[in-house]
């Protein structure tokens, strides 16, 4: 799916700014570095000139979500607001079996 660069840039800027506010420079610098994103956000933010920008955005979302559950919820809400594709890794499996059934099947 083609991403809207303007919206994606706003999304990334907002997420990184929130991360800087909530988790600090060092942690966000590492997350941005691991994701291939620029951590320097100012009044305007441009996506890095990167052929794999979609992959970088996906990594940013996944890595940010690893902070904790509220961080994941932030990613999901902002992704919805900015029309970002939510990575499969952040979605649940949809069809599950109760733990009780899993145990039963494991035993048999």
């Amino acid at each position: 799916m083609e991403i809207n660069h303007q919206q994606a840039a706003e999304f990334a800027q907002l997420l990184i700014m929130r991360g800087l506010g909530l988790y600090g420079d060092k942690k966000m610098a590492k997350i941005c570095d691991d994701s291939g994103m620029d951590c320097r956000v100012g009044s305007s933010y441009e996506l890095p000139d990167n052929e794999n920008i979609e992959d970088s955005l996906k990594k940013l979302m996944i890595n940010y979500s690893k902070f904790n559950l509220p961080a994941k919820m932030t990613v999901l809400v902002l992704a919805k607001k900015y029309g970002m594709l939510i990575p499969e890794e952040l979605k649940s499996s949809k069809k599950k079996k109760s733990k009780y059934r899993q145990k039963l099947e494991f035993k048999s």
Partner: protein
């Protein structure tokens, strides 16, 4: 059929109402129990006040021993739904039952001193329970009246466990809704729901679901014949007007 509210009442095969009426405050509570094979599911078990929990516990134990519970579902985190979960945890053991809720609601479970791990479900997730092909589908109902609220649709008997949605204040309580129940719903929804957009969003999500019975957390159970009228009333509710 005369109903004895002192007893657990089987509302559909394998599904019991284990709640209690409140003829004074009109804030009746409706926990439910599903028994399918060896699996025992409690939906929104309720308050920890002895006057409330003693009734729910007695009703559960009239069907199965408390320690046989395998799953507790919390449709949101309010104390009238969740505060007694630690009593179940004490009886069953930490992590010996599955506690199911949404991500946002899961954050509040430790505040009740619940130590068991939470299984987080998302909108549209389905879970198979029991031996009869019974599926529980989890449908989120954001902001009704909590961001992380959800309802549960049970596919075998086609029951919608609707949490606070379709709930009502009911001093003159009956287990099953009568033809005037929509007015009782208004008194509850107008007080608790903040924005009509959320109600419409939710009603759109469930509009293609075949529902035989709606089982809300407060008020009365709604049989199929009353559902279209009540959904029509819900679509036109004026909410968020409390100041």
């Amino acid at each position: 059929m005369k109903i004895d509210p002192e007893k657990a009442i089987e509302v559909k095969p394998g599904i019991w109402w284990i709640g209690w009426p409140d003829y004074q405050a009109g804030f009746s509570n409706n926990p439910y129990l599903i028994k399918d094979g060896e699996e025992i599911v409690i939906i929104d078990p309720g308050s920890r006040l002895d006057a409330h929990w003693s009734i729910v516990k007695r009703k559960i134990e009239s069907i199965v021993p408390l320690e046989k519970i395998t799953m507790v579902i919390a449709t949101h985190q309010d104390p009238d739904l969740c505060a007694c979960i630690p009593f179940i945890e004490d009886a069953v053991g930490v992590d010996n039952f599955e506690l199911v809720t949404t991500d946002r609601t899961s954050l509040f479970m430790p505040y009740y001193d619940i130590k068991s791990e939470v299984t987080v479900v998302e909108d549209g997730d389905k879970m198979e329970i029991g031996d009869s092909g019974r599926i529980l589908e989890f449908i989120t109902s954001p902001y009704l009246h909590f961001p992380g609220a959800m309802v549960v649709y049970e596919t075998l008997e086609k029951i919608l466990f609707s949490s606070d949605i379709f709930g009502a204040f009911s001093v003159d309580w009956n287990l099953y809704a009568n033809e005037y129940y929509h007015e009782a719903i208004k008194s509850f929804a107008e007080t608790y729901m903040s924005d009509k957009r959320h109600i419409i969003n939710f009603l759109d999500k469930i509009k293609n679901i075949d529902i035989e019975l709606i089982c809300p957390q407060h008020g009365s159970l709604i049989k199929k014949e009353l559902i279209p009228k009540i959904i029509g009333v819900m679509r036109n509710l004026e909410v968020g007007i409390w100041k």
